[in-house]
């Protein structure tokens, strides 16, 4: 029923009610007093009041008019002879108005609660549907269908992209044709937007958890595979190296064959390490970064490469105490590969320079040689897997690819440049990515061991 017809009907009821009261009063005129006749109008006002405040006021006014016209002497005029009738009019009007107001208020409250109940039910139904949805599209469909049920408009849902997994904010709901909304409908839409956001957030969290579990599973598989490959290939290598050194020890004088076996087994072992590293780095395993003095890394590599670098004077430029936030094992391997590469590709006797420097938020390691320089072509190709320079030096072309992988895993870079005056320059840059933690020396030192400073001898 439309609003207008309901409105008209309420007033019609008011008029009819008053007419009935008037007719009833006229019919019973010989048997009742004028006060009883006045009473007959009250039910009429009451009935009219069910239609709202307007009809009840109208009924009250009509009742006063009809009572005056039909019952108050002189009858059939609006004139009043007795002042007491005026009191009756006022009381009648006041009572009519009061009843009308009260009833109307009651009706409004009842209406509102029914409305609220309806919205709550709708919201509940929506929440149920949204919770049952298995993907974002399902939640959107639930929003569209439930908004149509309450607002009677087609909704478009926009899910803001939150990127990282967080508690999801509300979704945006746009209504086609932008109809005017009552405050209640607005509140309903807001609640749906929030509930929709929560449902989507829950779905995203569930997806993220599932992905994480899958990743962990893959990681587990990878590391199981790696350790099995590592074990299976290294074990024979270890036996070969061991046996060869045993033989070498028992053989007097030079034995080039045995030396070669030992050296080649060592090279194979290094190759294996590179192979495992590139698998590890490329599978996205996080480097274990710590603050490390670069001196320590460089020193460790130079000691390990003592034999390979025996024919090259190595100059090290290193500010004392330069720190880098790196995975020491991986970066040691990066340096080892670049230096090994330099030693292999340059003539004996040519120098190799290692230069370490600090930028405000990064550490830079540069290794420069005086070899034949970079091969023709794009500079970056030397870092491609299995790329091999022109020189006939042995190597699977994996070493520099590992370097690039290791630098990238640190969010850093490694670049190859031609060097002024001939040769190649490899520049690796490692951004810190986090500030140096502050350590309170006084707190860290053990308190219960008083110690005098370790002085040089008094002499």
């Amino acid at each position: 029923m439309t609003r207008t017809s309901r409105f008209a009907r309420s007033y019609a009821i008011a008029v009819v009610g008053v007419a009935f009261a008037t007719i009833g009063g006229l019919l019973a005129r010989d048997h009742v007093t004028i006060a009883d006749q006045a009473m007959l109008f009250l039910p009429a006002i009451l009935v009219a009041a069910l239609g709202g405040r307007g009809p009840s006021l109208a009924a009250a006014a009509l009742s006063v008019g009809a009572f005056d016209f039909f019952f108050v002497p002189p009858r059939f005029t609006f004139a009043v002879s007795d002042m007491r009738s005026l009191i009756t009019f006022v009381v009648m009007f006041v009572v009519g108005t009061a009843i009308g107001t009260l009833v109307a208020r009651l009706r409004a409250a009842e209406e509102a609660s029914r409305e609220r109940e309806h919205r709550t039910a709708a919201l509940l139904a929506f929440t149920r549907d949204a919770a049952a949805a298995t993907d974002v599209a399902g939640v959107e469909a639930a929003i569209v269908s439930h908004v149509r049920g309450v607002v009677d408009a087609v909704a478009r849902v926009e899910v803001p992209d939150h990127g990282a997994v967080t508690l999801h904010g509300p979704v945006a709901i746009r209504l086609e044709g932008e109809p005017a909304l009552s405050p209640d409908q607005h509140a309903f839409l807001e609640a749906v937007a929030h509930q929709g956001g929560v449902a989507i957030g829950r779905l995203q969290l569930a997806t993220a958890a599932r992905d994480a579990a899958l990743r962990a599973k893959a990681e587990e598989l990878r590391s199981a595979l790696l350790s099995s490959v590592s074990h299976d290939l290294r074990t024979p290598l270890a036996a070969i190296t061991g046996m060869a050194t045993s033989l070498r020890e028992r053989t007097a004088g030079d034995n080039e064959e045995l030396d070669t076996i030992i050296a080649e087994a060592q090279r194979l072992s290094r190759l294996l390490t590179n192979l495992l590293s590139i698998t590890k780095v490329e599978s996205g395993a996080e480097p274990r970064r710590e603050w490390v003095p670069l001196e320590e890394i460089v020193g460790s590599v130079l000691v390990r490469l003592e034999d390979e670098l025996a024919d090259h004077p190595v100059e090290v430029g290193l500010p004392a105490g330069a720190l880098a936030r790196i995975d020491p094992i991986l970066v040691e391997q990066l340096l080892l590969n670049v230096l090994d590469n330099a030693a292999k590709h340059t003539a004996a006797g040519t120098p190799i320079d290692i230069r370490v420097s600090r930028e405000p938020d990064a550490a830079v390691i540069e290794i420069a040689d005086r070899g034949p320089g970079l091969p023709p072509g794009p500079r970056a190709q030397v870092f491609d897997k299995f790329f091999r320079g022109k020189t006939s030096a042995a190597g699977a072309g994996l070493g520099l690819a590992v370097c690039r992988g290791i630098a990238a895993a640190h969010g850093g870079t490694i670049e190859a440049w031609p060097r002024d005056g001939g040769g190649a320059r490899f520049v690796a840059r490692f951004p810190d990515g986090a500030p140096l933690p502050e350590v309170n020396e006084a707190e860290s030192a053990e308190p219960d061991q008083p110690e005098q400073p370790a002085l040089a001898s008094a002499s």
């Binding site: 790696l226 350790s227 590592s230 074990h231 290294r234 074990t235 024979p236 290598l237 270890a238 036996a239 070969i240 190296t241 061991g242 046996m243 060869a244 050194t245 045993s246 070498r248 020890e249 028992r250 030992i262 060592q266 072992s269 390490t273 495992l276 590293s277 590890k280 710590e290 603050w291 490390v292 003095p293 001196e295 320590e296 460089v298 020193g299 460790s300 130079l302 000691v303 003592e306 090290v316 290193l318 004392a320 105490g321 720190l323 020491p328 094992i329 040691e332 933690p437 350590v439 860290s444 030192a445 053990e446 308190p447 110690e451 005098q452 400073p453 370790a454 002085l455 040089a456 001898s457």
Partner: protein
């Protein structure tokens, strides 16, 4: 040293053969075990002077045997492991292993490690003399004095404690955790970068060329070792 028994726990037969031949040719007796179960029995029967233990055994984790052994024996245990298994090494060392060898290794390395381990086990490495001499270094623990090539060197208290600790365990690896625990106390065993900074400073003071350390050796991902021969 002649006649001491070394228990070799290694599942790969060729590797075991190498270890046995290298050890017997240097005067050791060898007890071989290809499984943890056998190793467990041999450990009680043969009373080895030292144990070479491969962590990856087919019938279980070598760490289990190590822990069992540590309940009743102080015989040095040298763990055999691959380069990219640093975590395993640290775990074993912190669980009571004395040292490790990274596969592949040669006889010289193997014998050097065993020598160091046996010397420490016999207590010869910790003489009552408060002065320890390693290479060019003279470390006077009573007077907190250090000299390199006869020249006095000024060390901070922490540097001195680190050097003295490494010297008392001369030739043996000490993990980051062990060093942090002994020098800074049990609450500070995770501040590895702090340890590294002090080690770098110490190295600058005792090494002729800190970029090519001769004595204070970094064991990447594991800890430090003061070479003693």
């Amino acid at each position: 040293m002649i006649g001491e028994t070394i228990l070799v726990v290694e599942d790969e037969a060729p590797m075991r053969r190498f270890l046995c031949s290298a050890l017997t040719s240097h005067g050791f007796r060898v007890a071989e075990a290809g499984t943890l179960a056998l190793a467990e029995r041999l450990a009680t029967e043969s009373r080895p002077a030292a144990v070479l233990l491969d962590l990856g055994m087919p019938d279980g984790d070598g760490l289990v045997l190590l822990r069992q052994l540590r309940e009743w024996s102080s015989a040095p245990v040298i763990v055999l492991s691959a380069r990219d298994r640093e975590d395993d090494k640290v775990l074993a060392l912190d669980a009571g292993a004395d040292d490790y060898l990274t596969k592949p290794f040669g006889t010289a390395e193997l014998l050097a490690r065993i020598r160091v381990a046996l010397r420490h086990a016999r207590g010869q490495a910790v003489p009552d003399d408060p002065v320890i001499t390693i290479g060019p270094m003279r470390i006077d623990q009573a007077r907190h004095e250090v000299a390199v090539d006869g020249e006095p060197v000024h060390l901070t208290p922490i540097e001195f404690r680190l050097l003295a600790l490494l010297a008392r365990h001369g030739g043996k690896v000490l993990t980051h955790r062990q060093l942090l625990h002994d020098v800074w106390g049990p609450r500070n065993t995770h501040q590895t970068h702090y340890l590294r900074v002090h080690m770098a400073a110490l190295r600058r003071k005792i090494e002729a060329d800190p970029a090519r350390p001769r004595w204070l050796i970094t064991e990447a991902g594991v800890g430090y070792r003061l070479r003693d021969e």
